[in-house]
Subunit: 916 residues, 2 copies
Amino acid sequence: MARVHSEIYFFGGNIAEGRANLRELLGGKGANLAEMAALKLPVPPGFTISTRVCTYYYDHPGSDPYPAGLRQGVAKSLKRIEKLVGRQFGDAHNPLLVSVRSGARVSMPGMMDTVLNLGLNDQTVQGLAEVSKSPRFAWDSYRRFCQMYGSVVLRLKPENPHDADPFEEVIEQKKRRKGVSQDLDLDVDDLKELVEEFRGLIARRSGRELPQDPQEQLWGAIGAVFGSWRNERAIVYRKINGIPEEWGTAVTVQSMVFGNLGPDCATGVAFTRDPATGEKGIYGEFLANAQGEDVVAGVRTPNQISLRAGRRWAERHGVAEQERRRRFPTLEESFPAVYRELVKIGERLEKHFRDMQDIEFTIEGGRLYALQTRGGKRSAEAAIRIAVEMVGERLIDRRAALLRVEPTQLEQLLHPRIDPGAKKEVLARGLPASPGAATGEVVFSAEEALAVAGSEHPTILVRVETSPEDIHGMQVAKGVLTARGGMTSHAAVVARGMGKCCVVGCNDLIIDAAAGSLSVNGRAFRRGDYLTLDGSTGEVIAGKVPTVEPTMSAMFKKFMSWADRERRLGVRANADTPHDAKVAREFGAEGIGLCRTEHMFFGEGRIDALRETILAENEQQRAAALARLAPFQREDFVEILRAMKGLPVTIRLLDPPLHEFLPKTDGEIRELADKIGVSYERLKQVSESMFEFNPMLGLRGSRLGITQPDIYKTQVRAIFEAALTLRGQGVQTAPEIMLPLIGERKEFAVLAEEIRQTAREVSDKNKVRLKYTIGTMIEVPRACIEAGEIAQLAEFFSFGTNDLTQMCYGISRDDAGRFLKVYIERGIYPHDPFAQLDAQGVGGLMKIAIERGRKTNKNLKIGVCGEHGGDPESVKLCHRLGLDYVSCSPYRVPVACLAAAQAAIEERRSAGFKDV
Amino acid sequence: MARVHSEIYFFGGNIAEGRANLRELLGGKGANLAEMAALKLPVPPGFTISTRVCTYYYDHPGSDPYPAGLRQGVAKSLKRIEKLVGRQFGDAHNPLLVSVRSGARVSMPGMMDTVLNLGLNDQTVQGLAEVSKSPRFAWDSYRRFCQMYGSVVLRLKPENPHDADPFEEVIEQKKRRKGVSQDLDLDVDDLKELVEEFRGLIARRSGRELPQDPQEQLWGAIGAVFGSWRNERAIVYRKINGIPEEWGTAVTVQSMVFGNLGPDCATGVAFTRDPATGEKGIYGEFLANAQGEDVVAGVRTPNQISLRAGRRWAERHGVAEQERRRRFPTLEESFPAVYRELVKIGERLEKHFRDMQDIEFTIEGGRLYALQTRGGKRSAEAAIRIAVEMVGERLIDRRAALLRVEPTQLEQLLHPRIDPGAKKEVLARGLPASPGAATGEVVFSAEEALAVAGSEHPTILVRVETSPEDIHGMQVAKGVLTARGGMTSHAAVVARGMGKCCVVGCNDLIIDAAAGSLSVNGRAFRRGDYLTLDGSTGEVIAGKVPTVEPTMSAMFKKFMSWADRERRLGVRANADTPHDAKVAREFGAEGIGLCRTEHMFFGEGRIDALRETILAENEQQRAAALARLAPFQREDFVEILRAMKGLPVTIRLLDPPLHEFLPKTDGEIRELADKIGVSYERLKQVSESMFEFNPMLGLRGSRLGITQPDIYKTQVRAIFEAALTLRGQGVQTAPEIMLPLIGERKEFAVLAEEIRQTAREVSDKNKVRLKYTIGTMIEVPRACIEAGEIAQLAEFFSFGTNDLTQMCYGISRDDAGRFLKVYIERGIYPHDPFAQLDAQGVGGLMKIAIERGRKTNKNLKIGVCGEHGGDPESVKLCHRLGLDYVSCSPYRVPVACLAAAQAAIEERRSAGFKDV
């Protein structure tokens, strides 16, 4: 059939004049509908008016705003729809209803207007009532149409910006008068009255009547959609998002279908494979004689689509086969022809998109309509099974399979999970800081956690926020819950490193640690009561909930081996303890990218020795205190290096400000003073003298090394002595000594020289050569700018992207809670830059550092050791930036491996390689 | 005369084989001595062995380390010296003594070795005693030689690194035994004994005798100097400073002269113009029969060189002409021929260097020796007078004249100064934060300052550190003194802005504000006692000291007009109040580059309204509180804009975190709660909830605008209404609205749209068009990286170099005191980056921002408004970076103008233009 107008693209009835690649002309929505029609899917017919008409519309204000022949073209297209659907637009008995929607080249959610149920008037509403056999449905649709048309086309807005929508106001009054609270409680007569009241309101406020002529309705709606391109919020949105004004919007007019017009109608959702297990075969739910809203509202229990699934469902719910057949017949049973068509459509779509599909469908008058298809959401297990099996079916190759699994999903497989079938009472939701599930008794301090751990009861450590002194408590707890802090708060970072379930920033907690009580949204818990955390969703759940233990399946291992073959980026782990190091190796880490030495200073016998170092009044006292720390450190290094068996281990010298190791409150100061035999006054005075306004930007990192060289010297000596000990035992070691917070070449030069001096001393004394390298964190912006200078001396760079993000943005992550949420909600930041690397700003600094560093030192090894190393998008950015490796918490190593493989594949593809 | 060896460069006797441009071969010292000799100045003769010999020396270890013929060449050169000086090396009656010094291409202060008085032995010391007629001088010289030779050539070091120098140890023992404390108290016999003891020590410790043969001494010293190139501290120094190992050092051997060998000897310093006033004519002091040390020791009062100056001196000191002639004869009188020669030398040197010279000279046996010449230090007045008069004398042109004045000196002329002739007891020294001099009664709080101000007594406000609440106290005080803080602390920044004398970071202060007392290095002061501050030197002085008021001379104005003609960079002022704005215009500012609006929120009736805004429990309360602030702001903007009469005024919207406006201590909270009728608990809870770990990186700047738009809206409305008011009075305005802390284009887009919205509201209401621009501070590193994006929307950039430096380095200036000093002392940072812009790091970020910003917006106006805008080196960097303007405190405007002119001239020169 010939096209009716050059700017109108028809779809439906096995014809599609457009395609997915015509987004610029058809907008996203119009292009996708055309593609479905081109696949000969039974989509409800319709047509799209191109964005060029939008441009024409704005170029011809005042006169006829549409190009020649468009009106006739629309009329002809409407006739084509009527013919396909078998209903007439404006027909009093069997009316065709259409939707009129906007669609720009890129999605601008909520910015432009839509009108649904168009074609309803005082006559056609009767017809709809008849064919649907539901006057309530017909009048509710008419009511909605009046409301939409009134506000979208006739522009009825609240008189004051703070007032409610005038139509909603009328509905509220009606419900108040009737003494009901739900829209559903309004009956047909109420709805009829509402339509009258709406029409009165429109006439009164706009001075115009709601048009009864469907043609007038249609052109009013088309004009309104084009007009909405330049409404104020759309203009602001485009300005903020850099979308050109000249793009314009397309308008799609599509026939509406209803799944609730009788027993030969239905609506449902079908997956081409089981989204929970990945098992092949159609899977899904439907409701006969219902519309989509009913499924969502959950008033009726939906039925299964396939007989096999239906039987399984009945078995699980203890429903006898006979009863099942009667009360819960499957689509396969009640609509066998439609079922066969749906299976065929599913197969076609899987072949076309080469992926498991999630299909929305409606059956109207026994006829199946596909309303939408998209790649189906799936569990981690299903994702891996589907990917691996599709390779077996030769639907996709291994590279495509690797792209099919969301890397973050893998974490689900490595941690216990809440049993998906379990009932749970969600009390509140915090930030999902570290995945997994944990059930345990509430405790309010590290000491309590340690005490209860002795009794072998599981515990959940609940704190306003955690500090380094809580680490031992965190270690013994099953899960950690905090009221404050973000995704990179102390609790979050430490818990992820431990692979421990953690929920942070749960603002609804009111904690009274002294009283041993906790209140969450009105529910009270006492010390010893049970709570459950879901670290993957952030849910805080009352009581005990059963959890499922993880297993590493053969399929998982096969899948990961494919990933390892593809990726170019190395993957290491951040590990501070011998235990972490062992876990890291098990998960496939190729080394340790960050061993934070500060954690070695906590624990019995250590923290006090460090405090004595800080408080020493003369060189002798200080040297003695440091000497007491030396064996602990040596021992830790021996075990960590041993666990990594010759793989590289990047050891960062002490980084945090020393005041973090001193007590803060008066009580703690008094207690410590007694314990270590220093006067309260001196301890308090030292503590106060070390106060910093902005500790993030204070005396820490290499500044400690410059101002108090003996601490670094002790650490470095312990590293070398540990390497020697292991050499004596025949174990290879590859320590990489890393200086934190370097911003200037000379600073690196001074400290590197001191490290080499210590190495010479240890070498000379033991008459052996030591193998080690010296490098630096790149975490202050100046280090990026001066990277060329620093790389002349450094053997490796490791981006500390947490601090680099803080300083690049000028945002303290500890304080960001106050405004970061607003920034993300308003779309000013596309995501939390502490969770996902900021490609422009921080990435821009990294690019400069990499270019300049490699220019002066072509052997420079470059990695990332910030928390971002376990975030897939960030890993991909690191790949594109040409880094040598990323380092992340042990439990995220598989995530990083898969993301790195995906990055390599995406790079192949953008270079023109085609994988299937 | 032919050269004796290709690697030996002789100088002296009106001959110079080298020149200043041979630094690479002769080292800095050797090259300069050659240049003086080439000018036919009577320099003591000597010769330099080139750096190539140093390379040879290290290439030939073990064998003879010197190239063929070098030994003979040295011997011949020594003969040439002997002939010119009339003394023989090693002669028992009239011995020639020489110095042996190192000299590298660049100065490496204190890194390499020097031997003086070489040629002394048991015989020649007798000869020296005879010719000098001072056995003590001869033996003291011999004693020093033994000591120097022992440690430099024979490498006698302390046995333990912490021990004292072994020679000094011997001297100390000697003094203890004799019961004296000064070296000067040792007599000839003591010195003879010391020589014996030193020689014993050398023999015992090195196993070698101190050589008596001067030739052996000489070659020992030459070898030691070459050897010192590779001593450990020199190697480390070069590594840190990036000096290549292969450069090597030169060795200079020069005859020594003595001004204390008899009445026909003398030593002194002469300037070619008066360094205090700039008056033309030789000016200086000398001592007959003395050596340089005597002048330094101040034991004898030196005499004037010219008769004119001698008479003036006598007059000032009330010495009768006859007595003067007898007791204080001038050089003109006692050495008339030498005086004439010195005048001639002065004139020659001025012509050669085209600048006022400072000449060190010695007269030995009636013969004049120039030991050194250099550009003379001079006062600000003298600098300007000399520069302007030299232009009149056609010695230099105007551009050269502009280069002759140190821009920072100009500040001296704009502030009161301590009377140069006044006696003063300096108690302590802090950082010279804001120049000028102030005398006043000590007060310890803003309230006391205000109270005493009522009584019209001048005050000095003494605080541990200042905060915004002290501003009114600072305004009424004559000077401000703090115990803590650096050059960019609150006190320093605010005081500079006010042009108020200020000394900060004076660690020696122990302040007990409650008791109203102050202790400085053991001296106690109470409230009301007088103190004097010198803000140009950082001196804290006891009691009252007379000060001199500044005057802007005609010569100053002429000089500044030359500068204005040369400079390309615009110069604006940072001004927050109408008064500041007026001062800024008087000093020649071409606009206001930074008007900080936060200061408008302090003061009676304002701060409490702002606090109520913060504490408001609902929208109404909040709106009411903001409404009370509006008229104050409007009034301030009217007066500031009026003062600038149509010149651009960049107004920064509120920047500091709001908690800075709330009281901190419990007492203050209680007081405020009572005052504004809010409960103590609520005030405390709000205050605590606003706590930030790193306020520098917290909720401030544009983040306030995003999260609390009403505050910015109130400010913006006040600006526009002020502009309208002035328009009604026929006054032009050019407000530039500046958003602080922008790091992302969308952030700017949202806030700029809100400003435009307010402008539209004010425009529509008043039916006029408003003229304004919107721009942003560039102060977070991300803004530099994203400058191309931001510049698409911003009309101007203004670098906030204070914050940019903090975030680029990752250093909080409030906390930097703990380590910055160490970094600068150890040469890790060449200077305080908060005082002088860091050209590499911060400058590197600025360069990126400028390139990217101008690329997307070629009309982008770019300036600097950090404190660096008043630092000459930073101004020059801004010129080189191609900025449009700098903005600094009003009192530094002339400084910036001159620095900008110098930058333009330096640029001409490096482009090949030659000015005389």
